[in-house]
């Protein structure tokens, strides 16, 4: 019965919106999700939130213990002085890339299928970056001094050391976070107005009213608005590329075999988009199901995203290939050993094998249209890619550090319970925020959907 409903709702792979929608119906359908009485919230959302909330508390415990005892509670040692924290940081930042990419680049490319997923993935970006942003601070030996990484006048006359990629990170990540927020919030303003105008309860109208700042959708508003939005898009496009490039500099600027390689920036960016889209799918597929949004997040969306995944996945594969090739071609003893150690001789060879499996082999299934058309299959692959991309970062960080130049200093890394707890915790934080957002704010851009209606089917832009 549910399936039929889906079948009827989903217009299939060539439409971005289901049949029979007009301005009013799209507005109400999207707004309805927010105005839906609390008790009628889909059961799955409650369950999901409950689970996430437990993880949030685990996170709080883990961080408390961390601050009480020191980073020693993690498995990091000399030589493997970076562990889960940095792995997670890179992973989350990567996930954070889909949002801005979808809203900015696809906007510039005039991709119609971006509309109903951009709001949603922008939010995802925000929360992912928030999770990412925590790790660089948590992993400090003396986190209470994190503010020393900011350039501010102080009684020591000391300043950050801007040759360090970590300082580039500080600027890149904070810029990315603020710009993503701007992007997301700007997009929301007209919808806040819509919510304000269609809300029943006066308190809701007041709240949305404040957020809408008195937006009255006048032609002049729209004119400046679109200009600003376009500029934001134009600026964020290079930003997206820059952010993960900078993150990759953390590694490529160093001299460590396995880190010190010029291919990192492009291959990190591709990887970021790869994991980003995987995460969007991982979230979009259940949500559209729970709220019966199949007619707005259609098979077309899913297929396009699958294609992007396939494409970026291939770039990543090329990256791996190049690493291997360069290791051999460089003729450098340490590079060669690093690769042998990573893929074959090391303690964590299996992570590398698993990563090839997750990031390269499995996604090839997406060549087949049948797979791309099957929602469960795409969902499964998206999940696998999420795992794979985490492993990629683990391999890069840990296997390179374990055995570098001086055999006498080789060590071994064992994550502890607290490593895992902290990681799981941030996933909880992420999901909590995501669920709250879906419940409390229009998860699909209403005014843009109205535009879609206007273009797709002007005939019945008005149902009656």
């Amino acid at each position: 019965m549910e399936e039929e409903r889906v079948a009827t709702l989903d217009p299939g792979p060539d439409k971005v919106i289901g049949p029979g929608h007009d301005f009013k119906s799209v507005t109400e359908k999207i707004g309805g999700v927010v105005f839906m009485p609390f008790v009628r919230t889909p059961r799955q959302l409650f369950i999901g939130f409950a689970v996430a909330f437990v993880l949030v508390n685990l996170f709080l415990v883990a961080v408390t213990w961390l601050f009480a005892r020191g980073v020693g509670v993690w498995g990091i040692v000399i030589p493997v002085a970076w562990g889960f924290a940095i792995v997670n940081f890179v992973w989350w930042i990567g996930i954070g890339h889909a949002g801005t990419l979808i809203s900015a680049i696809l906007l510039l490319l005039k991709q119609d299928w971006r509309t109903s997923i951009n709001r949603f993935s922008e939010a995802m970006t925000l929360f992912a970056v928030a999770c990412a942003g925590m790790f660089p601070i948590l992993h400090l030996g003396r986190p209470w001094l994190a503010y020393w990484l900011l350039p501010y006048p102080n009684t020591m006359w000391l300043w950050p050391q801007p040759r360090s990629p970590l300082i580039w990170d500080v600027f890149a990540v904070s810029t990315y976070a603020s710009v993503s927020f701007l992007f997301w919030f700007t997009g929301l303003i007209p919808d806040f107005a819509t919510m304000r105008d269609s809300a029943r309860q006066s308190w809701a109208r007041k709240i949305f009213g404040v957020l809408a700042m008195g937006w009255r959708s006048s032609a002049k508003h729209w004119a400046r608005y679109q200009k600003a939005y376009l500029l934001l898009a134009g600026l964020s496009t290079p930003l997206v590329v820059s952010v993960h490039s900078v993150v990759s500099f953390d590694f490529s600027v160093s001299i460590l075999p396995g880190w010190h390689t010029t291919i990192f920036p492009p291959y990190f960016v591709a990887g970021a988009i790869y994991s980003g889209f995987a995460m969007v799918l991982t979230l979009a597929i259940p949500v559209r199901r729970w709220y019966h949004l199949e007619d707005m997040i259609t098979m077309r969306h899913i297929e396009c995203m699958s294609k992007v995944m396939l494409g970026t996945g291939l770039i990543v594969a090329y990256g791996y290939g190049m690493e291997a090739f360069m290791a051999w071609y460089s003729g450098n003893q340490f590079e060669r050993f690093m690769y042998w150690n990573r893929a074959w001789g090391g303690h964590y060879w299996w992570t590398y094998v698993l990563l090839i499996f997750c990031n390269i082999l499995i996604p090839q299934a997406l060549w087949s249209r049948r797979v791309r058309m099957s929602v469960p299959a795409v969902f499964a692959i998206a999940l696998v890619v999420n795992v794979g991309m985490w492993l990629e970062r683990f391999v890069i960080v840990v296997t390179s550090l374990e055995r570098d130049f001086m055999p006498s200093a080789w060590g071994r890394y064992y994550p502890t319970f607290w490593d895992i707890a902290t990681y799981a915790g941030t996933i909880g934080v992420f999901l909590c925020l995501m669920f709250l957002f879906i419940r409390g704010l229009p998860a699909i851009s209403m005014f843009e959907m109205r535009e879609v209606v206007h273009h797709e089917e002007p005939s019945h832009a008005h149902g009656d």
Binding site: F23, P160, I167, L182, R216, Y225, S242, H462
Partner: protein, 185 residues
Amino acid sequence: MLTETRTAGHVKLHGLMAGFRQPEALLQAARGAYAAGYRHMDAYTPMPIEGLADAIGFQSNAVSRWVFAGGLTGACGGFGLMWWITVVAFPHNVAGRPLNSWIAYIPITFECMVLVACFTAVISMLIMNGLPQPYHPVFNVDEFERASRDKFFLCIEATDSLFDAASTREFLESLQPEEVSDVAP
């Protein structure tokens, strides 16, 4: 935009508001009004509509100019700060690199440029739109809440030199709107 405040004192109305069901109709109406010589007017639509701004004779590139200025400031500020930190504020021999390792400052320069530019874009947009402005006369029009959902309005403001409560209403009626209503100040 803020014209009403100038003259609200001796004008009864903020203006007259005609509501349409189709964007195309509104576009027609707007062009008509402009042709008829009206200048102080504004249109209200649930989503941006191409050509509407021109139709009511409005164009502005201010935002882009501001953003350019902002971006430039950001870039210079970013690079300048890094240069000052490493060359002037506390020169250190770091890893045998020269004091002014300008190559290393490029990422930061870029990020600062983007950051400032983006903020300017949004803030200048809001300021020029006169937001935040929770109270506005047009909200007095009943049914105006549909302006953010599925109805299209054209408002001729009292400040317009041609504005006259009676004749302007007549003119608006002539555009076959769903209805024409006064906009209380």
